[in-house]
Every structure is written in C-alpha cells, then in structure tokens.
Amino acid sequence: MRRLFLGRTAYRKRRLGDAIRILPVVFAVLAVLPPMWLPQYFSYARGAVWLAASWALTIAATAALHHAIGRDKTEEEDDA
C-alpha cells in the first residue's frame, strides 16, 4: 500500500523520481521540436551548438539524478 503522506526523506525521493520522469520529455522536446519548427535556423552551426548543449545538459542532469536516487529506492516507505 502506498501511504498518503510521507516524511521529508521519502517525500524528497518521490520528487526525485518525478524529476527523472520529466527529464526524457524535456530532452525530447528540446531535440525534436526546434529543428522541426524552424529548420532554417537549426540546420547548420547554430543547430549543432543547440543540440550539443541540450544533450550535454541532459546527460549531466541524468547523472546527477541517478546519483541522488541511490541504490534501490523501491521500499522507501518510512514516514519518520
């Protein structure tokens, strides 16, 4: 059973999980939409820089979040 309310630690973990879920959506939007929408701007050097920067940021964010989530987060149900 999932508890309705959680303590601070468990609450933070849940929100970290949310962040991890949002990440691919954000990256997909960054990588797919601008080049489709404005191909004349994103087909050349500017596009390369844009994609490199957004991908690098995503990788850094993934690494940070995966580090923060720690090993095995499945049974974090304490509300202490």
Binding site: I20, L23, P24, A31, S43, Y44, A48, L51, I59, H66
Partner: protein, 882 residues
C-alpha cells in the same frame, strides 16, 4: 600500409579477442566473474549500437544530409534519459520471465504464443540482413581505401570476414546451453572493442579538429560558410524525416535483436542502469559530435569524387598519417565485428528457439519424458540448431551484400533495418503498459506494419520494387515509416479492444503489466505429471549435472532430501520459467504440456487468483510464512515417519532373517560334527564333512564381520588411513574383484579410461570396498536382457571427485529409494540377494566416514549411484578419537 598488412593485423586482432573471450569464459565457469559484472562493462557492451554504420556511415551521412545523422543518436539519448523508469521496467519484467530475446518477450507476454514468436523472428531476420551486409561492406570498402591503383583488392574479402565472424560467434555464442542466455566471453570482448573504437574515433576526431582545422569555432564557421553553397542545400533539415528518424532510432535501441540482447538479456540486474543511463549517452554524444568536423573538413579538403563514407580513413591517409589510419581501420573493424557477432548470437537464439525447435517437436511426436535408452541429447540438438542459424544469418548478410553490389550508401542500409524492427515496438510497449493488449491485436499490428515496410522500404532497397509515391513534399522513407507505424498501432488497439483473450494470456498480461510473478493458477495441473519425467526432460536439455542441481535445490526448499521435489504449483511455475530461460516461453510451455499433459488455465482459475489477491495483504503474508514453515516441517516429519515405519517393519523381518541366517549354518555344523564323531567313517567322507563345516563357519564369520564393520563405522572408533591412488587403477581392481563373484552373465562395461586418470586422496581400501559393493550390486540386480554397466568419473568445480555407476536395468522403484541405504533393507526376495542387506548401509557409513557421500540418482534410465569424494579426507582423521 597495404590491405594485406591490415588483413593480417585484423587476424591478429581477432585472435586476441578469441583469447580474451576464452579467458573470460573460463573465469566465469570457475565462478570468478564478479569483475566482469561491473556496470562499466555493461555500459561499454551497449556501445554495440555503434556499428560500422556509425564509424564510416555517419560521416558519409553527415556530409550528404547534414545534422540529420544526429537523429540516429538523439533517439537513444532520449530513451536513456528515461532509463530509470522505462528501461528499468523492461529489464525487470524480462528478468522475471527469463526472457531470451525480443521475440520471446513478445510471445511470452501474449500468452506464450509460438506463432507470434516465429513472426517476430522472421521480421528480425529480414531486417537484420541489410544491417549485417552493411558491416561486411564497410570492412571490404575500408580495405580498398588502402589499396593502390595498381593493386586490386584480393577477391572475396567480405566472404572471408563473414566466415571469420561466424566462427567467432559459433565458438563463443554456442558453447553451452545455459539456463540464462548470458555470454561472459562475448560481453568482455565487445566491451574491449567498445574501448578500441572509441579510442580510434577520438584519435581521428581530435586530430582533424585541432590538427587540420583550428578547433570547434573554425568547424562551425565552415559549416555556416557551406550553408550558402550548393552542398548546403542537402543539409536543410526536413521536419518529417527528423521526427521519423528520431522515433526509429529510439525504438531501435530497444528492439534491435543485438541491442535487446546486450541491454536486457545480458543485464544481471537493473541497478546498472543508474550508470548506463548517463554513461551510454555520453559515449554516443562523444562519437557523434566528432563526426561533424570529419565530415566538414573532408568535404573541404578531399577531391569531389571521394566516397564520403570513407572520409574517416581518407583524411589521415591524405595527410600521410598511416598509423592513425591503421588505428581507425581497426576501430571500424571492431565495430563491425561486435555488431555481427552479437546480432548473429541473438538472431540464432531466436531462430533456434522459435523456428527450428518447434518444428522438430512437431515432427517428432515421441513422448519426451521417456527415460530414453538411446538418450537423445536435446541440448546438443539445440546448440547445433543455433550454429546452423548463425551460418544462415551471416550468409544471408553476405548474399544481400552481393545482390546490392556493395554500392548503396551505408546509412540507407541501416535505416532499412531500423524501420523493419521498429514494427515490433508498438506491441512491446503496449504489452508492458496496457493489460488490454491481446495476442490477436499484436499479430494484426505487426503483420500489417511489416507488410507495409516490406512493400515500401525493404523491397525497394533491394531494387525489386519502386518506392511508393507519397503526396508532394513528403519524403518517401519518412512517409512509409510513419504510415507503417500508424497502421500497426491502430490495428493493435482496435483488434485488442474488440477481443476477449484466453485465460493463460490474461495471466501473462497481469504478470507483465504489474511486474509480478503469480504462481500458476494452473492448479488443475494434470496429476499425470511426474517429477521424474520433468527431471529427465531437464537433463536432456541442460545436461544431467545442472538438472540434478536445480531439482535438489527445489527439494531442499520444500524441506525434502533427494532429487525429487513435490510438484507444487510454485515449483511447476518456477520450473517452466527456468526452462523458458533456455528455450523460450512458448517452447517451454509446449514441452511442459507434452511431458505432463498439463492442463490449460480456465477462467475459473483466473477468478480464484483475483480472489486471493484481494485478501488483506498483511494477514496473508504472515499466514503464508507460517504455513510455509509448517509445510516444510510437515514434509520433513512425513518423510522421517515413513522411513521409521518402514524401518521398524524391516527390522522385525530382519531379526527373523538374521536368526535364520545364523541358525542355518549352525544347524548343519551341528549335524555334520555329530556325524564326524562316528568312528567308522571313511577318510574321504570325513574330509568332505569337515569341508562343509568349514564353509558354513566361513559364512557365519562373513555375516558377523559385516555386522561388526557397520557397528565400528557407526561408533566412529575406526581409523582412516589416507593414501593417494589413481582412480583408474582402483576401478580396475574393483571390477576384477566384483567380477570374481560373477553370476555367470556377460556384462558390457562402458568406461571412459581417459577421464578416470584422476589422483584421489582417501582411504583406498575403504573406497575400494564401496566400489566393489556397488558394482557387485549392479551385476546382481540388473535385469536387462543385455546388461550394461556404465562408469563415469569426473572432478567438479569444487574439486570433488564424482563416480557415477549406472546400469540399464529397471532401477529402484521410487517408494524404495529412501530405504536402500538403511541397515537391514533388502528389496526383493532374500534368496536371490544372498546377503543380509547390509552392503549399501556399509557403503553409506564408509562414504560419510571418508567425508563424502553416496546417493541414488533418479531419472537416469536404470539404477545409478553417485559416489562423491571430497578433495581431501576430513580433518578428524589426523587425530582419531582414542
């Protein structure tokens, strides 16, 4: 640098990989595989995604179509950014069901459908053919870049590459039939190749970026300059292609057979995704962004006619950097090699499990559970099926390469493969998130998608059909991909919504969507099923050792001793899943049905599962724990009670028997000694009667010796005299001694003299006594018309020596197996046995005394005793009790 030297270098390189893979396999077999199990190795093995297409084709792609080449890496980048909630779930479910391939996953989810597995396998084989052709083409193309104008390339380079890679895949991919499809040697080899290709690509990229160009700013400036030139027109992003290719590559990183294999099947747990989730995209980003400078500088510096797919080699060569070019060649060769080898292994597993084995089962209606005398080795059959499949897969790639004449751009061949395999994605994703997705829906979607793909993409790629006309302004490829995927998804949803799936399929749907593993609700398992039949089946697939091990562990967890667990629903489910880890879910389910006549699941069973699940969870779990404990205790009690009852009856019988045994000789001794007292007896008669008395006294002494022997062994007052002996000699002696008291029948003895030459440290006389006893028993009780005794010896991984003594008689009935090692036990009529029933009891005492054991192996098609000896005798022998 000539093509010949490079060819030789690649042969040396492949040989090194052979050695490495071999060493890793050996280490894994010896249990030293922790270091291979690191997340870093897993991450590196994922880079099998970067095949020769990335190495050569990406540069060609970039110089033709600009940033569009990045879509191939952005897709996986997006998927891996969501690794922790998307891929983790995929891996968890796949591991739970011991999935062996993408076809197995889909077939298992949709009610273990054999048809679906065969269908997905067909798409995978069709789609991978151009992809493997791409690798072969890239290697021969790269070799030709080094050839001078005067020296044409040695003919058939692609064929030799194909043969070499097939040999590698066969040697390391089909070594043994593991219970899970993991190949440590191959994984280590591709991890190292991942390092080689990254190093090579980084070297050439850095050299071009700073050695030829003036750093990133210069490259960006050149790109913008090109934007206004004629070549820049091809660089303009086409939105529909951009979207379709990102979607395709995101799908490909999960569903391509080789990616599924390294990502899911070779994963030992899901936690490694925490590292792979960012490290693999970082690897991809490093590889892909270095493509840009190479492409741009290549276009600026190299002559117009140069093949852009070869810029990565031609640039260092044009600058006279031969060593760098050779390193790049090795990097490209690595990427081609790891792709072909892993694809061949993954595809061959699918072809063998989903095509060849079901076909074979269908052709042979013979019951598989018969303890076949001519033990057909199913395991060997499956391995050979895989070897054949590897040759077929790589051969097909080579044929495709020949047919297309090796002229197509690499990237075009790769996208054909991606778009074909992507047709599996809707069924896979729907299967994992939507319980309502059904088998018919999946089949309808996949068939329709695959047909559109074949007609609009695959056949045109072979030049056998014209690409269909799309509405003006829409790219033909992107249009076909989106159409195929849309129809696929639409049919999947529509058919599923109107369908009512079979109960077994609904059970699987629940297990996949909620990542839980319910016990078989198939509690109406037909009673006809026999543990021994299952053991025989398992032995024929995994080999006896592994099968016995699995059964012993299962029996242990039920609190029983021996090799035959109770056939609880839990055990049956676990066993079927274990089997599925080797042959795929559909085949495993078919085998279980064949062996046990196991009934299917009914709707009523399903309702029962639901009812149980809705009970209060806490109570349930506590109750389950207690009752499991109780069941274990009860099983143990039942077993010992049965033994005790039987023993007490036997003991009574034995007391009568032993008095009888003692009285018979005593009576004749008394009678004949009275006769001897007669004075007028002739000398000849006197000698004869004395002889009879002597023989009878000898019989009594032997009986008393046996009784004494066992009481001494039991009380631990005896002393062990360790010595070293060659097992071969010992068995020779035992056979000679047991043969001396022969029953007059001719026995064929089957031995493996080479394996017998093992030195053992133990009390030689005692071990000899055991061997003689067991062999003599086999001679005495084997009731076959043409009796055969087989002796197998081996040393296992823990250093124990095992001696198996089989005969081909009718064996020992299951109800008697618990008794044979007990004192006073004798199974058939006493007259025939001619002993007091102490032989095996003494053997058991001796083996315990030597620190080893003797046990009866069921399911071997006759009686079979295993004698196990520890590497060295137990310590207490050095200080015998006073």
């Amino acid at each position: 640098m000539t093509p010949e030297t490079l060819g030789a270098a690649s042969i040396v390189y492949v040989a090194l990989m052979f050695l490495l893979a071999h060493a890793a396999d050996r280490a894994a077999a010896a249990g030293r595989w922790r270091w291979m199990n690191r997340p870093a190795i897993y991450t590196l093995s994922l880079s099998v995604y970067c095949s020769a297409w990335t190495f050569y084709g990406a540069v060609g792609y970039a110089s033709r179509s600009g940033l569009e080449f990045l879509t191939i890496y952005l897709g996986p980048g997006i998927v891996f950014a969501g690794a922790w909630w998307g891929l983790r779930r995929l891996i968890r479910v796949a591991r739970l069901h011991r999935v062996t391939s993408i076809a197995d996953l889909i077939s298992s989810r949709f009610g273990k459908s054999a048809a679906l597995a065969a269908l997905v396998t067909m798409i995978a084989v069709l789609a991978s053919t151009p992809y493997i052709a791409l690798q072969l083409q890239s290697v021969s193309m790269a070799l030709s870049a080094f050839a001078d104008q005067g020296h044409p390339l040695p003919g058939n380079a692609a064929l030799w590459v194909a043969l070499g890679l097939a040999a590698f895949a066969i040697l390391f991919g089909t070594r043994n039939l593991a219970a899970n499809e993991r190949h440590h040697g191959v994984v280590i080899a591709i991890a190292l190749e991942a390092v080689v290709k990254l190093a090579a690509f980084l070297a050439v990229g850095v050299y071009v970026l700073w050695g030829i160009a003036d750093g990133p700013a210069d490259v960006l400036a050149r790109i913008d300059r090109m934007a206004v030139s004629a070549a820049g027109e091809g660089w303009r992003i086409r939105p529909e292609r951009w979207f379709a290719l990102i979607a395709l590559s995101g799908a490909a990183v999960m569903v391509l057979p080789r990616m599924f294999h390294v990502l899911v099947v070779e994963a030992s747990d899901e936690d490694r995704l925490r590292q792979a989730g960012w490290a693999f995209p970082a690897y991809l980003a490093a590889m892909s962004f270095l493509v840009l400078p190479i492409a741009v500088i290549g276009m600026d510096l190299l002559p117009k006619g140069a093949n852009p797919d070869l810029y990565v080699l031609a640039l260092p060569l044009s600058q006279g950097r031969d060593t760098l070019a050779a390193l790049v060649f090795l990097g490209g060769f690595s990427s081609a090699m790891s792709m072909v080898v892993v694809s061949a292994i993954a595809l061959s597993t699918m072809m063998a499990n989903h095509w060849l084995v079901p076909l074979w089962l269908w052709l042979r209606q013979a019951a598989l559970s018969e303890p076949a005398q001519s033990r057909e080795d199913l395991g060997a059959l499956m391995l050979n099926a895989r070897r054949l499949a590897i040759l077929l897969v790589i051969g097909a790639g080579w044929l495709y390469h020949r047919t297309t004449g090796g002229t197509t751009a690499l990237a075009a061949m790769g996208t054909v493969a991606f778009s074909g395999m992507a047709q599996v994605l809707p069924a896979m994703v729907a299967g994992l998130v939507w319980r309502g997705a059904t088998r018919r829906g999946a089949i309808a979607g996949i068939v329709a998608g695959a047909l559109i793909w074949g007609w609009a993409i695959f056949l045109p790629s072979l030049g056998l059909a014209a690409p269909p006309a799309m509405p003006a302004g829409i790219d033909a490829f992107a249009g076909a991909v989106l159409l195929a995927l849309a129809v696929n998804l639409l049919l999947l949803v529509l058919v599923s919504l109107t369908d009512f799936p079979a109960p077994a399929a609904r059970l699987q749907a629940l297990a996949f969507v909620h990542a839980i593993a319910p016990d078989a609700a198939a509690s109406d398992a037909a009673p006809a099923i026999q543990a021994e039949a299952l053991l025989t089946l398992a032995g024929r697939i995994w080999g006896n050792e592994h099968a016995l091990d699995v059964f012993r562990k299962a029996a242990e967890s039920q609190g029983k001793t021996g090799y035959l667990p109770d056939l609880t629903p839990r055990f049956l489910t676990d066993f079927e899943r274990h089997l599925a880890g080797t042959v795929g879910a559909a085949t495993a389910s078919a085998l279980m049905t064949r062996v046990g006549g196991r009934g299917g699941v009914t709707v009523a069973d399903l309702m029962e599962v639901a009812g149980e699940a809705s009970r209060a969870r806490e109570d349930n779990r506590r109750l389950e724990l207690t009752s499991a404990e109780l069941a274990r205790t009860a099983a143990m009690l039942r077993e010992s009670n049965e033994k005790l009852t039987a023993l007490s009856a036997q003991k009574d019988a034995f007391l009568g028997q032993i008095s009888h045994e003692l009285r018979t000789p005593m009576t004749s001794i008394r009678a004949f000694s009275e006769i001897l007292m007669e004075p007028e007896l002739c000398a000849a008669d006197r000698a004869r009667f004395a002889g009879i008395i002597h023989d009878e006294a000898g019989r009594m002494t032997r009986l008393l010796d046996d009784l004494l022997d066992i009481s001494v062994l039991e009380s631990g007052r005896t002393r062990l005299k360790p010595g070293v002996v060659n097992l071969h000699d010992l068995i020779e002696r035992a056979l000679a001694a047991a043969g001396a008291s022969a029953t007059g029948r001719d026995f064929a003895i089957r031995r493996n003299p080479l394996a017998e030459h093992l030195p053992v440290i133990t009390d030689t006389d005692r071990l000899l006594q055991v061997l003689i006893n067991v062999i003599a028993n086999a001679r005495k009780y084997c009731d076959a018309a043409e009796p055969v005794i087989r002796i197998d010896t081996r040393r296992n991984a823990q250093g124990w020596t095992e001696i198996d003594i089989h005969d081909n008689g009718s064996g020992i009935a299951a109800e008697n197996r618990a008794l044979i090692f007990e004192k006073f036990a004798r199974l058939d009529d006493p007259a025939r046995a001619g002993g007091a029933g102490l032989g095996l009891a003494i053997c058991k005492e001796i083996m315990e005394f030597l620190g080893g054991s003797i046990s009866y192996l069921p399911g071997q098609g006759g009686a079979c005793f295993r004698i196990s000896l520890p590497p060295r005798p137990p310590r207490r022998t050095e200080n015998p009790p006073a």
